[in-house]
């Protein structure tokens, strides 16, 4: 059963080379027939699909273990090679070993003293890979250069290695004439056999696990059928696996070679066949061996042989072992739902009926689960399978529901449909950080998309322009518990990257917060009741109205916002709207003097740019990005740390809903007339452009007259360029300032930019005033035709407009030339993004591979898996970045203030 597999633990894995004896020992059959199935489609005995190697066809039984297809893991076979061949993977090592050892006695060509010395060095080194590699190289170099064996005195010859598997000995005859001798694998094998076990460690070999002669194959293992199944196409034609094809080739040539040798064929023919056998064995192991043409399929596609199966992104290691395809998962388009909590996910009912959670039947849930079984797979809260105490999985079907429901008892397991409240993992690729997979509670919903709260868009980096996301259902209690405790959304509000909120209010949440809490925002009783109801704020009684106008009770937005805050929260900070520092300073001074100032006094000084919250009452300041926005939401930050993640989740849920009510009911839009500027402003901008162009022209003239002073370390041309760029940048800034002056806080685009909800002032400038200089690689545009970017300008025109300065705004509309310039600049951005993702992706993969084994030990040190200490104290102070205050060990000020407020409030 499932638990049983847990008991066995793999402690370690040994690597080594199989010896011929071992290959024969583990072989279930010798394969001699280069064929697979006979005409009836039955496996040929002694062929590559021999039933002793396991079976893949249903109905047949394995002749080795007697199990059916699917149960039999398969068994190795073997081929007796007529002549030995080199194993390509070890070709280089063979060369090294041959060079390092004596051709006569097989000893390593080092003196006894050297041997002893190196042996000692190896001992000291342990298993530090790089050092061992270096030492082995050193030994090789030393031994290779010895042309007389220090042990037997035999003369030595250099050995030339020709890729991939040919070795030449550059011999000298008695007269001293050099000649090349081709070393055939059999000769090589004989030499390797002579090397004594004691010398092997110096050659980087292991005496028991890898004798050098095993690198020359005499017996070839044939992998089980299960690892190279043939597939039957619709047309009934069998297509064999690439490995099988290759094995057929090997056996065919091997048989030919054998019969030729027996028939006493000429040496030349035998050697040709031998080389052919070598080629097939080489490509069978690695079909991308350099120096030989890859073996091809009939269609011309190169075969995927052993090495290709393991290699690369889709190879066995990265594709099937490091990452696996899983069951109990779903994927669909996502769409927003502001009404669900941040830790919930809306699951379409169709998905909920397909994914199941195994639930053990106990006396407490017996009735509920029985009902689920009775509902069956087609009625919503139902079940798809039950597992009886013997571990048999029974599929629930229309006709067996009642029967099984009757049999259902304690000890059974019901795989019931996903229900509200189940924990699931939710993920969006690319999974760049751990917040890309978080645990959510299920909310089963109609329609076909996953629904998620908008505040969790930042961690997933999700939007709703067609994004899809994945959902996984943890199947064991352990997995569910870990998901709940470690992975739930509220535990990730603070990012471990910078120690500030990552899950936070976005866009309308922030604009809405501003509309609600700015000075002068008042709401009637109906409005207040509606918005509190909508936000799910539970209040017994409304606070006293802030003012009564014409007999109508009015509440300020600040009062309403205060209802969401914890009662004893006190905090103050300058927000993004603070552009009159004196008013902030006045408030700061008041707070500093009094510590707990009188609320009325604060109200008198109240300023949108300075937030002061006293005992959960917002007394001054408007809510903006600094309150609960991403990265710098101070309010949210404090709530998470001082009131816990659950309170923070509640706050986020309520505040997002509340602000959305405000924004929908107040109305918030930005239209083309938001960018309207009065005529005088437009005139002023025109004037700025004219001035800038004039200055540019003057610079160009000075340059042409040779009067321009070059900046240190720059050529004249570069100086001109940077000066022009400076002038034009200034012009755009000035135009922006003009536009800004005429657009106030009643302009919705400005509200978004100033509160940090979306966009920058620059974007408004570009819409209303002008676009400014377009650039590629930080320079003005210059490529195109000779001396000009577009044919609309004179060659050599260095003027502002000819080099990509756009004087129009999005609203006024671009001229055709400007439009083209703009597209040029835009294209650079696109290319940049594409290149960047590839580069940073690879860098992240390397970083993760390098660092993933590091962990904090129980003693607070950081260690790698071998126990080497990397840091004595994590990050020098032992503090988790996620729990730090934006990187600081502790926010001492906050602790002091908080404690003081607590003690002073009492006394």
């Amino acid at each position: 059963m499932a638990m049983q597999s847990m008991k066995k633990v793999i402690g370690s894995i040994e690597f080594g080379i199989l010896s011929p004896q071992e290959i024969r020992k583990m072989s279930a059959a010798e394969i001699t027939v280069p064929d697979t199935y006979d005409d009836d489609g039955y496996p040929i005995e002694g062929g590559l699909m021999d039933k002793r190697l396991g079976v893949i066809d249903p109905g047949l039984r394995c002749e080795t273990c007697g199990a059916k297809a699917g149960e039999c893991p398969g068994h190795f076979g073997h081929v007796e090679l007529a002549r030995p061949v080199i194993h390509v993977g070890f070709a280089k090592t063979i060369h090294r070993v041959l060079e390092s050892t004596c051709r006569e006695c097989g000893r390593i060509k080092l003196t006894d003293e050297e041997i002893e010395e190196y042996m000692k060095k190896f001992e000291v080194m342990g298993d530090r890979k790089k050092a061992v590699d270096k030492l082995i190289r050193e030994i090789h170099k030393k031994a290779r250069e010895r042309m007389v064996c220090p042990h037997c005195g035999a003369p030595q010859f250099p050995i030339k290695f020709e890729r991939p598997t040919i070795y030449w000995e550059l011999r000298k005859d008695e007269e001293g004439n050099e000649y090349k001798h081709r070393m055939m694998p059999s000769e090589i094998r004989e030499r390797l056999e002579k090397i004594p076990d004691e010398d092997l460690p110096l050659l980087g070999l292991h005496p028991e696990k890898s004798r050098p002669e095993w690198m020359v194959l005499t017996v070839l293992p044939v992998p089980p059928v299960t690892m190279r199944p043939s597939i039957t196409l619709e047309s009934g034609i069998r297509a064999e696996d690439d490995l099988t094809h290759k094995l057929v080739d090997i056996i065919r040539i091997n048989n030919r070679l054998k019969s030729n040798i027996e028939a006493g064929a000429p040496q030349l023919i035998i050697e040709d066949l031998w080389d052919l056998l070598q080629y097939h064995v080489t490509t069978y192991i690695n079909n991308e061996t350099s120096g030989i043409p890859p073996a091809k399929h009939k269609s011309g596609r190169p075969l995927k042989t052993l090495a290709q199966r393991l290699k690369g992104k889709e190879g066995r290691f990265r594709g099937n072992l490091s990452g696996k395809r899983v069951n109990f998962s779903a994927r669909t388009v996502i769409s927003p739902d502001p009404m669900i909590s941040i830790n919930e996910v809306g699951v379409p009912i169709a998905v909920a009926m397909e994914l199941t959670v195994p639930e053990k039947v106990t006396e407490f849930n017996f009735e509920k689960l029985k009902q689920r079984v009775l509902n069956g797979p087609d009625k919503y809260p139902g079940a798809n399978y039950v597992i009886d105490p013997e571990g048999r999985r029974i599929r629930l079907m229309e006709n067996n529901l009642e029967l099984i429901a009757e049999k259902l008892d304690i000890g059974w397991t019901v795989e019931r449909h996903l229900e509200d409240g189940d924990v699931v993992l939710f993920n969006r690729q690319p999974s760049l950080h751990r917040m890309s997979i978080m645990a959510h509670r299920v909310r089963v919903m109609p329609y076909k998309t996953f629904r998620l709260n908008l505040a969790v868009c930042p961690p997933y980096n999700a939007d709703f322009d067609g994004d899809e996301m994945n959902l996984h259902v943890p199947q064991t209690e352990e997995a569910q518990a870990e998901a709940k405790i470690l992975m739930e959304v509220q535990n990730h509000i603070i990012s471990p990257r910078y120690g500030g909120p990552l899950i936070a209010g976005i866009q309308d949440h922030i604009s809405g917060g501003y509309l609600l809490t700015r000075e002068g925002a008042y709401f009637t009783r109906t409005e207040v009741e509606q918005m509190l109801m909508f936000a799910g704020v539970d209040v017994d009684e409304l606070p006293k109205p802030d003012k009564v106008e014409n007999g109508v009770e009015l509440w300020s937005g600040k009062t309403i916002f205060s209802l969401l805050l914890p009662d004893d929260l006190t905090i103050w900070y300058r927000n993004k709207l603070c552009d009159e520092p004196e008013r902030c300073e006045a408030l700061e001074k008041l707070i500093e003097e009094k510590l707990i100032p009188d609320p009325e006094e604060v109200r008198k000084l109240a300023y949108d740019g300075f937030v002061y919250i006293q005992n959960g009452k917002l007394l001054s300041g408007a809510i903006d990005k600094k309150a609960y926005g991403r990265e710098d939401g101070k309010l949210l930050d404090v709530i998470v740390r001082e009131y816990g993640v659950e309170r923070a989740r509640q706050f986020l849920d309520q505040v997002t809903k509340l602000t959305i009510w405000v924004i929908t009911h107040k109305g918030f839009t930005t239209a083309i007339d938001d960018e309207d500027l009065p005529q005088e402003a437009l005139d002023r901008i025109k004037e700025i452009i004219r001035e800038a162009e004039e200055r540019v022209q003057k610079l160009i003239e000075a340059y042409k007259r040779g009067e321009l002073e070059p900046l240190p370390g720059k050529t004249l041309e570069e100086t001109l360029e940077s000066k022009i760029m400076a002038v034009l940048a200034e012009a755009r800034d000035n135009a922006g300032k003009v536009a800004e002056r005429y657009l106030g806080m009643n302009n919705h685009a400005v509200i978004m930019a100033k509160t940090g909800a979306r966009g920058k002032i620059l974007n408004i400038t570009q819409m209303a005033a002008m676009l400014g200089q377009q650039s590629i690689r930080g320079k003005r545009l210059y490529r195109g035709y000779r001396g000009r970017v577009l044919t609309h300008f004179k060659p050599g025109d260095l003027g502002a407009r000819a080099r990509g300065f756009v004087v129009n705004s999005y609203k006024s509309g671009l001229t055709p030339q400007e439009y083209f310039f703009h597209a040029m600049g835009g294209r650079e951005g696109l290319v940049d993004t594409a290149v960047r993702t590839a580069q940073s992706g690879y860098m992240q993969r390397r970083l993760i591979n390098a660092l993933q084994d590091l962990k904090v030990d129980y003693d607070g040190t950081v260690r790698d898996p071998t126990g080497i200490i990397v840091q004595f104290r994590y990050g020098e102070d032992g503090v988790d970045p996620m729990k730090s205050w934006g990187g600081k060990t502790i926010d001492v000020d906050r602790v002091i203030i908080r404690t003081l407020l607590k003690t002073r409030a009492k006394g």
Binding site: M215, F317, Q844, A850, L854, K855, Q871, G887, L900
Partner: protein, 393 residues
């Protein structure tokens, strides 16, 4: 009640179980707040207690997979970085590699950064005077004939290479014609040099082919007349009340010996040079600082602790190892971890050859074979023998 004395605060803070830096800050802040609000002793005690509690809460939990978190924290924002290789950092005249390419360069531990730069601080005597700073800069700045030349011609008829030298630049470099001639004569034995006013005439001793003259001219042109090897132009900038020299190119070892240079503050962005001259701990700090600065310049927030970990891993062995198959990953003890990263088959063949044993104590290895990973909740073991229930007969 009486005001607490600074001494009492000091004593109370000292007793607390906190890291030194926090103690120091706490003490300073307490003194400050004491002045303002007249703290009571009980209040001070409460504050310290609260601080200790907060610190204990903030500690990392054993088993936390901080390696992965660090890698993600650096990798994730790097998708948002600019690819603009060249940018001006502080000094408008010198280009510096920034953004993602710079981070990759650091992590790769490249022997030579694409834009090496030194920031040379000056000693007490030279730092406040522009002239004196210039003097030091001249000693550092590498000058070639090419830099001084106003015009150069190859006279085919007389077989000469003629260089017109800009007197202004010559003076700025602190050279004169005689010095130039002597310097060149010392280095080029195969040619004669003649000075005529501000004209330098180069004549090969053996009149051979024209291409030889051209080659000689090229060599003479590029010949370093003065300054440190590897250093190009220098820029002097006023920072605060002192002058600082920025150099294009780097030669850290030599620059520290130049008189007038303050060797305690002078720095380079070539991490290998720092490792060589100042040692591996300095290199570690340099890596941290370079990454932090690059991130900050891009407006990305990343906690130093993550960067420290990367730097510590890179410098663990006493030499700077790159993050990648030639460095940290390639050094891993586990065969499977290496095979799963890159160059799969070679690693497997090598492991077989050596008869290696994979101890399976890393993360990837255990993922590969389907066992719990030894980080996080995976390090917790139960001291209990399974099966709990007796086996069924």
């Amino acid at each position: 009640m009486l005001m607490v004395s600074e001494k009492t605060i000091k004593n109370l803070v000292e007793k607390a179980d906190l890291p030194a830096s926090v103690k120091e800050e706490l003490y300073e802040k307490l003194v400050e707040y004491n002045k303002r609000y007249d703290l009571k002793k009980t209040e001070v005690e409460a504050i310290i207690e609260e601080t200790v509690k907060e610190y204990q809460n903030a500690l990392v939990e054993p088993g936390e997979a901080i390696g992965t978190v660090a890698a993600q924290s650096i990798g994730e924002p790097s998708t948002q970085m600019t690819l603009n290789t060249f940018h001006y950092a502080g000094v408008a005249e010198i280009n510096v590699t920034l953004g993602l390419p710079r981070i990759i360069e650091i992590v790769d531990a490249r022997k030579n950064p694409s834009t090496p730069i030194m920031t040379v601080y000056l000693d007490e005597k030279h730092r406040y005077d522009r002239e004196k700073a210039l003097e030091v800069a001249r000693r550092i700045e590498g000058t070639t004939l090419e830099n001084l030349a106003r015009e150069e011609t190859i006279d085919i008829l007389n077989f000469e290479y003629i260089v017109e030298i800009d007197p202004e630049r010559l003076e700025k470099a602190g050279l004169d014609m005689e010095k130039v001639r002597r310097k060149l004569e010392g280095s080029f034995k195969s040619a004669e040099f003649e000075v005529d006013g501000y004209t330098l005439i180069v004549r090969p001793k053996k009149a051979a082919k024209l291409s030889d003259l051209r080659r000689l001219a090229e060599k003479v042109k590029k010949h370093r007349l003065k300054g440190l090897s590897g250093v190009g132009k220098t820029i002097i900038r006023k920072e605060g009340d002192e002058y600082v020299i920025y150099t294009e190119g780097s030669n850290f070892k030599q620059v520290l010996k130049v008189p007038g240079v303050d060797p305690t503050r002078t720095r380079t962005n070539n991490i290998h040079e720092i490792a060589e001259v100042l040692g591996i701990e300095a290199a570690r700090n340099a890596i941290i600082e370079e990454i932090v600065n690059t991130m900050r310049e891009q407006g990305l927030e990343v906690d130093v602790r993550h960067i420290m970990l990367v730097a510590d891993v890179m410098t663990l062995d006493g030499v700077i190892l790159p993050i990648g198959r030639h460095g940290v990953v390639g050094e891993k003890a586990s065969v499977l971890a290496r095979a799963a990263f890159e160059i799969t088959t070679q690693h497997l063949f090598e492991a077989a050859e050596r008869g290696e044993t994979d101890p399976l104590n890393g993360v990837v290895e255990n993922v590969l074979i389907g066992q719990p990973v030894p980080v996080g909740t995976g390090i917790v073991k139960l001291a209990m023998n399974l099966p709990l229930r007796p086996k069924r007969e």
